[in-house]
Subunit: 493 residues, 2 copies
């Protein structure tokens, strides 16, 4: 066989001496999107092999909070007392993920959401019929439902609010439990999983993708796919060069991934002519404590507020990290601080405390009068009206901030890059949302908008339902939903 470098460029089938493995559908990467593609392909009667570079399945989905954005009136929503419709879900997501979310994909996603809920439940995923009813990143409970900003401004006026964050019954990082179930289902359905196997190049036969070349430890292994190859390799936050080329705003921040989101599938797809879409769109999480932000205010380096602090913390993070002068500070009084149980504070403690706002400004480096002006305006309306007419934090959370105030430096928190000393941390981390341009069925399109025969993509190797923003649950939601469609399409090809 010809020597194969670490290139992403395709190899001609003629250059290979046959294939080591052969199957109908070949799934590359065995996380959330890959598992769902494999299940659907196998249930459609196709023989399926999934190759995964890690030593076990799960991908980045297994390392996540495991939220899946679902709605339209799921049994879990109903059990918690909420009606919901696909139209309200669509209206919310268009606003929250927008501007410029892909309407066709988003419409299909919302219209198919109730069915997707049932499919997940039928395939082993459990959602407890209880709601966590307060802003949070991930509940430290087994509650099956959570808000993701639907009841916060401006979304509460755009669509009838209903919580749509569905999650398996595990405290905090429930993605592990989600993937345990999906992997078990995929395996039972007949998926043959090849771990420690990293696909590096697609194999072409006259313009059609017919397989891949992979590395397993020192060896090259070749796979032939009779019906299709589905790229579910994840995003590219772990590849510094791709970040610099496409999403430089994440350089220097931490990475939300399993360490293997190296963009390999995107590069393999691009190398056979696959078009890219929205490669600069990212998710970002800043070290914010939702219980504290809702009860206090969040300000930028000049002491200015910039968003309603009771909305989903991912939206506060995106606005703060990418659109405001940093650092970002959480400002809270003693009463608000004490209301949040220590475990929910996620290790965050006051950086500076002072009775005197001017002293707090000096300590934080906020220019004189910057924080005072924000507090004056906030407290005046909180006092007089009990409302927040500037940023529309819900009345539930509005009251004047009094007495000694704490300023908490978000750079010192939990969401920064691992191994980075606090003095260099940004307190933020993220992952990428752009990728290959695909149809609703995961077909990878070329620059002319034509499908590349034999090639499919889903999950973060593709561009999904996201506009310029992100809400938790929509990456696993989009990945599992369109992963299923890609698996089905490949099986019937």
């Amino acid at each position: 066989m010809t020597t194969v470098s670490r290139s992403s460029k395709p190899v001609d089938a003629d250059a290979l001496d046959g294939f080591d493995h052969e199957t109908d559908v070949l799934v590359i990467g065995f996380g959330g999107a890959g598992a769902c593609a494999a299940i659907e392909a196998a249930e459609a009667g196709a023989q399926v092999i999934a190759v995964e570079g890690a030593s076990g399945p799960g991908g980045s989905t297994a390392q996540s909070g495991g939220e899946i954005y679902l709605g339209g009136g799921t049994p879990t929503q109903k059990a918690c007392g909420f009606d919901d419709t696909a139209d309200d879900m669509f209206a919310f997501l268009q606003a929250a993920l927008g501007p410029h979310a892909d309407e066709t994909k988003l419409r299909a996603y919302c219209d198919g959401s109730l069915d997707h809920y049932h499919w997940l439940v039928d395939h082993g995923v459990e959602f407890r019929p209880t709601l966590w009813d307060s802003p949070t990143w991930m509940p430290l409970t087994e509650d099956g439902l959570m808000w993701l900003g639907e009841n916060s401004h401006p979304f509460d006026e755009i669509a009838t609010p209903a919580p749509r964050g569905h999650r398996p019954p595990m405290a905090a990082f429930a993605g592990m439990l989600l993937m345990e179930r999906l992997v078990a289902t995929a395996t039972e359905a007949g998926t043959d999983v090849h771990t420690d196997t990293t696909a590096t190049r697609l194999v072409l036969d006259g313009g059609r993708v017919v397989g891949v070349i992979a590395r397993r430890f020192g060896d090259l292994v070749t796979y032939r796919a009779r019906r299709g190859v589905v790229l579910t390799t994840g995003g590219f936050v772990d590849d510094e060069q791709m970040l610099a080329e496409h999403a430089p705003q994440l350089l220097g921040h931490g990475k939300v991934s399993d360490g293997r989101d190296d963009g390999s599938g995107i590069r393999m797809g691009a190398a056979v002519g696959g078009a890219l879409r929205r490669m600069g769109t990212v998710q970002t999480a800043l070290s914010l404590v939702p219980g504290l932000t809702a009860r206090g205010i969040v300000v930028n380096a000049l002491g200015q507020r910039f968003i309603n602090e009771d909305t989903y913390p991912g939206l506060i993070s995106e606005a703060g990290v990418h659109h405001q002068p940093n650092p970002i500070w959480m400002i809270i009084d003693e009463a608000g601080y004490e209301e949040v149980p220590e475990i929910d504070r996620m290790g965050m403690v006051p950086t500076f405390v002072d009775d005197d706002v001017a002293a707090l400004e000096a300590a934080t480096g906020i220019p004189p009068g910057g924080l005072a002006a924000s507090l004056d305006t906030y407290n005046r309306f909180a006092d007089e009206l009990g409302t927040d007419p500037h940023f529309h934090k819900a009345d539930r959370w509005v009251r004047p901030l009094r007495g000694p105030l704490a300023a908490i430096d978000t750079r010192l928190g939990f969401a920064g890059a691992e191994g980075v000393p606090p003095s260099e941390s940004t307190g933020a981390s993220g992952f990428t949302l752009g990728g290959l341009r695909t149809t609703l069925d995961g077909e990878v399109l070329d620059v002319d908008g034509e499908a590349i025969p034999g090639l499919y993509a889903a999950g973060r190797a593709s561009a999904g339902i996201h506009g310029e923003r992100y809400i938790s649950g929509t990456s696993i939601g989009d990945g599992t939903f369109f992963g299923r469609r890609a698996g089905r399409a490949a099986a019937r090809a």
Copy 2:
């Protein structure tokens, strides 16, 4: 010949019955980058044909202000009393175009800037030795030098300030004069210009780019390039689908272009495996009057200031349009308004005028107290210290704003989309900065970082020296500088 659709995909040389035209170097698109590529290639002894889709040469450069970002101690700078170094130029551009500007390209650009100045002058471009010494988009004079933010915060502390915006002697849109000279030089050097000729597909011979297929009115015309094809087709702001795929933040805004920045060169390059870079980076101009902004304040929809208003208006625009709640308002008192000559106000007039700030808030929709808080803080320090400790506008422009104040709605201004009624205008327009990934010599790289034989790109068909921001003069600067290198490299291939 095979039927050729509007596809961007390459054609095999074998599929053609010879070529209609043959040359050494083929330049696609005859704007600023194309003209410089053609001049260098011709002066290196190559036969050069330039094909241009419009009926005349000039491209978007001819429709622009014609500023070229040059420094390092040019004779024009020296005549105006400024010393400058390549290192100061680099430090400024790294900050102003950053974060995440391409350091290698930026270093080469700055180190070669003085030479590029002399080359431009030697090839017919004139810069008068006089300075326009006030913030502006483009002087309505024939001054040869202008500031582009170098003397504003934070850049005045990052590098020794020197004005580096060089421009031909013509009021406002001097790009026409620039292109008149460069086109004349290119033609005299022997470039054969084929207008009304739109290249649509590259021609490949065994992995090497050897020509293009073009349309001229109803006919197909084929070109063979013995040494190389240089893509200088501009960006993609005129292609709504590419905008939606790559730079959706410009959707709905106006377009800064000659109407032909359709991304065709980027698509042709991508279709032969060219890698893309920074496709989401854009330039944006909001309808701001620099004389008014410097003398007043600029606030967002909540009445908050967000930048020093004396910096280059392109930076205020970028911050305002893409990072702040819109609309953006210019706030000015009568004294400040009257100081700016009517011709410099560019048609902008007060939208609302009132003695009472609360009434102005009500008229503009700024929430109660939002504008008042900004004015209180600004006026307090202007009164007491004559400085702006929050945003660091230069003392020269700082004085309290008193008496009746005008609020000017930037949506109603000159920079919006043509033909859009004022009620739907955003007051902003822009162009794209991302494109094909290239080496310093304009070689187009594939996803593995290897050069595609025979293919070069420069100007806005390529990704240049820009990070996440833009300064005027750097697009024509980068396009002419790296266009020259691409032309030389193609000629010697």
